[in-house]
């Protein structure tokens, strides 16, 4: 592949593959950047880079991740995702059909999330200097409400809602990476979650905070909230849904599903008075059909997360020092 040098091959790649796949007027303008109006004036802007091995895994690939990850970060700000940029770093020797599969996934995921890819960039690095494809996406979303959403807004008695079962993405990736085979294939939960968030906002739910449960999983999201808001949080272990196959994999590997990454799950802090209604709205949307209430913000000044274990005792949940490592025995 000699497509990174800015010559005719590069143009072929852009015209033949990217413009064809992401076809829209802003991109087709072929300018150095995309120019667009934003209405109303409040926007959210985010960026994220995606490096994943393997590039393809059950339930998604690096392309779906690159769209959904950024879309979900915008959704966590309470914004409706609208535009994405797409930066690709390709390793020399990457097969064209592999790139095409990823590009198609990006387009499918963008369509499903209701966003457009409006500008992009491609670089090619020498063979051995990359893992096939690295992707960076930035996203712009608009806010249709005046409320602030963030950890500083959470209050004692707020209900903590979880949008579905946890642990699937991390285990799906690990199973492929390590060649682990289970009775059934575990698929990543990778999905755009802007839909249910918009539904909550449109129904007038006063969302205090949102967080997607990516690296560090549910535990990290809760601990970060406790630390930022300086309130104790309490949740019930038994209330957190974990699919049986994911649980078995975690038991075998000595991993705690609370810390395993997800790509289509989030937590929402809402006033207790609106918790039932919010749950009903979440459950009506396919990506959050398994939503549950797992706990509540407590009164107090200890910035800790406590968990009631399955046998009824209460213990601390804290951040891990690094990633979880499989155990000896």
């Amino acid at each position: 592949m000699a497509h990174g040098g800015g010559g005719s091959l590069m143009h072929q790649l852009i015209d033949g593959m990217f413009r064809h796949a992401f076809d829209n007027p802003l991109l087709n303008a072929g300018h150095d950047g995309a120019v667009f109006d934003v209405d109303p004036a409040r926007v959210a802007l985010t960026t994220d880079s995606y490096v994943v091995r393997p590039l393809f895994f059950p339930g998604g690939d690096i392309g779906t991740l690159a769209v959904n990850g950024t879309v979900n970060d915008l959704a966590m700000c309470g914004a409706r995702p609208q535009y994405l940029t797409l930066g690709l770093i390709l390793e020399e020797g990457l097969k064209m059909e592999t790139l095409w599969r990823v590009v198609q996934s990006i387009q499918d995921a963008a369509e499903a999330a209701g966003v457009r890819i409006v500008t992009g960039d491609t670089k090619v690095v020498d063979r051995g200097k990359g893992d096939g494809i690295y992707i960076n996406t930035s996203g712009v979303g608009v806010l249709a409400h005046d409320g602030e959403i963030g950890p500083s807004r959470i209050r004692p008695d707020d209900a903590i809602l979880l949008s579905g079962d946890v642990g699937r993405h991390g285990i799906a990736i690990m199973a492929v990476r390590e060649g682990l085979e289970f009775e059934s294939e575990i698929e990543s939960d990778c999905a755009p979650v802007a839909g249910p968030v918009m539904n909550l906002l449109e129904a007038g739910i006063e969302i205090h905070s949102l967080r997607d449960l990516t690296r560090g999983g549910l535990a990290a999201a809760l601990v970060e909230h406790a630390h930022s808001a300086r309130f104790p949080l309490l949740f019930e272990e038994a209330a957190v849904p974990v699919r049986e196959d994911v649980q078995s994999a975690c038991e075998m590997l000595g991993l705690d599903p609370l810390y395993v990454a997800n790509e289509g799950r989030f937590i929402a802090f809402v006033p207790e008075s609106q918790a039932d209604k919010a749950l009903e709205i979440l459950r009506a949307h396919p990506v959050s059909g398994g939503a549950v209430r797992i706990g509540a913000v407590q009164d107090g000044d200890r910035a800790v997360v406590r968990m009631q274990s399955r046998i009824g005792a209460v213990r601390i949940v804290d951040l891990l020092s690094g990633e979880q490592l499989p155990r000896i025995c």
Binding site: E178, L180, A226, H227, P232, A238, E244, Q247, S248, E251, L253, G254, R302, A303, V304, S309, R310, I311, G312, A313, V314, R315, I316, D318, L320, S321, G322, L325, P326, R327, I328, C329
Partner: protein, 363 residues
């Protein structure tokens, strides 16, 4: 999930805890041998369900914690060699040697790979005939059969590029060392269910008799551990000192015969130094002469260097059940999982790691 949910049942746990309260008429100190049990106790809060009179102290059954620092240093030396592939179980990665850990070596370019089974390392050796592949064979009687199997397979395939850096240790000699120590206060033991799955429990019968202590073979789920405590307390209250099996769904008295035969074929009993505890005679496994060519220490001629442990770390007393992790002045202050002074703070079976993760309210 079958075989799991029924052993994590809140109502069942309360019932057994009540039964323990009913029979306990005086204070008793019990030790769970295995670090996996220690973690389950803290993770589920099992100790909180017990009456105050029953104290659980935590034993030396964390293979990562008792691997001597000299051997970690040897692992670091080997793993730093650019030509080698160094394979290890995941939780050895963060264990501090006298100069860093395997994670740092990996970051500096060493080819350190986490494997799930020693057989994966044999496969790597087959795939890379031009490179030496070393497996870090750490663990109790639980992991030793898999390492033995790896060595047998390597020999069968005629591999000359596969070796094992061995630090296998045995549970019964450690129990005897604890019991014969003058500062021992343990009155009954919960033996490690998975060790007994392999070895059975006949080895524990003379120990129970000689030292007059009950030993109860115990599993790892909350109800398993509570059941183990119940049987142990019952023996103490009745003045009995026997070996009982509270983990019948996995353990038979004679253990797993094929696994034991494999161990006998490949390994012989050797003296071993335990980090924090000291040298214990006949407490480890080493390769027999017929398999000596698979011994990484012999193949690479590694010299043991005397190494100083952190003087502030009390892991020796923690591993012998004399002190609890939070009684260490460095705990959570100068010793954390990010900056460990000793191995029990980073091992997934280490008592210090369990206290830090489940009990330390740092917020």
């Amino acid at each position: 999930m079958k075989y799991l949910d029924e052993y994590r049942d809140a109502e069942g746990a309360r019932r057994v805890a009540q039964a323990i309260s009913k029979i306990a008429t005086r204070p008793w100190t019990l030790m769970e041998i295995c670090g996996g049990q220690t973690h389950a106790i803290l993770r589920f809060g099992i100790d909180e369900l017990l009456p105050d009179s029953i104290e659980l102290v935590h034993g030396p059954g964390c293979p990562v914690c008792v691997t001597p620092v000299e051997l970690i240093d040897k692992a670091l030396t080997l793993a730093s060699d650019s030509g080698l592939i160094f394979c290890t179980f995941g939780d050895m990665l963060r264990v501090p040697g006298s100069r860093g850990d395997l994670r740092q070596v990996k970051a500096e370019g060493g080819d350190v790979r986490i494997v799930y089974s020693p057989l994966d390392a044999v496969r790597l050796a087959t795939e890379h005939p031009d490179r030496q592949v070393i497996f870090f064979g750490v663990g109790f009687e639980t992991t030793a059969p898999a390492v033995a199997m790896a060595v047998v397979q390597a020999k069968r395939h005629g591999l000359t590029n596969f070796t094992v850096l061995i630090c296998h240790v045995l549970v019964p000699p450690a129990i005897e060392t604890l019991l014969s120590s003058p500062d021992n206060r343990v009155q009954g033991f919960l033996a490690a269910g998975h060790v007994c799955t392999v070895m059975g429990y006949t080895e524990y019968e003379p120990i129970a008799k000689r030292y007059g202590v009950p030993i109860v073979v115990t599993g790892f789920e909350p109800l398993d551990i509570l059941q183990g405590v119940y049987l142990c307390v019952k023996q103490l209250e009745e003045g009995r000192a026997e070996v009982e099996n509270a983990y019948r769904r996995a353990v038979q008295r004679e253990g797993n015969q094929p696994a034991r035969e494999l161990l006998l074929e490949v390994f012989e009993v050797v003296p071993r130094k335990w980090r924090g505890v000291g040298a214990i005679p006949r407490s480890g496994l080493g390769l027999r002469e017929a398999y000596a060519s698979f011994d990484a220490e012999k193949r690479f001629g590694l010299e043991a260097a005397g190494v100083e442990e952190s003087s502030e770390c009390i892991s020796g007393e923690v591993l012998r059940g004399i002190k609890k992790p939070h009684e260490c002045p460095a705990f959570g202050v100068r010793c954390t999982p990010d900056h460990p002074l000793g191995a029990p703070m980073v091992s997934s079976e280490g008592a210090c790691a369990a206290y830090f993760r489940y009990r330390a309210e740092s917020g």
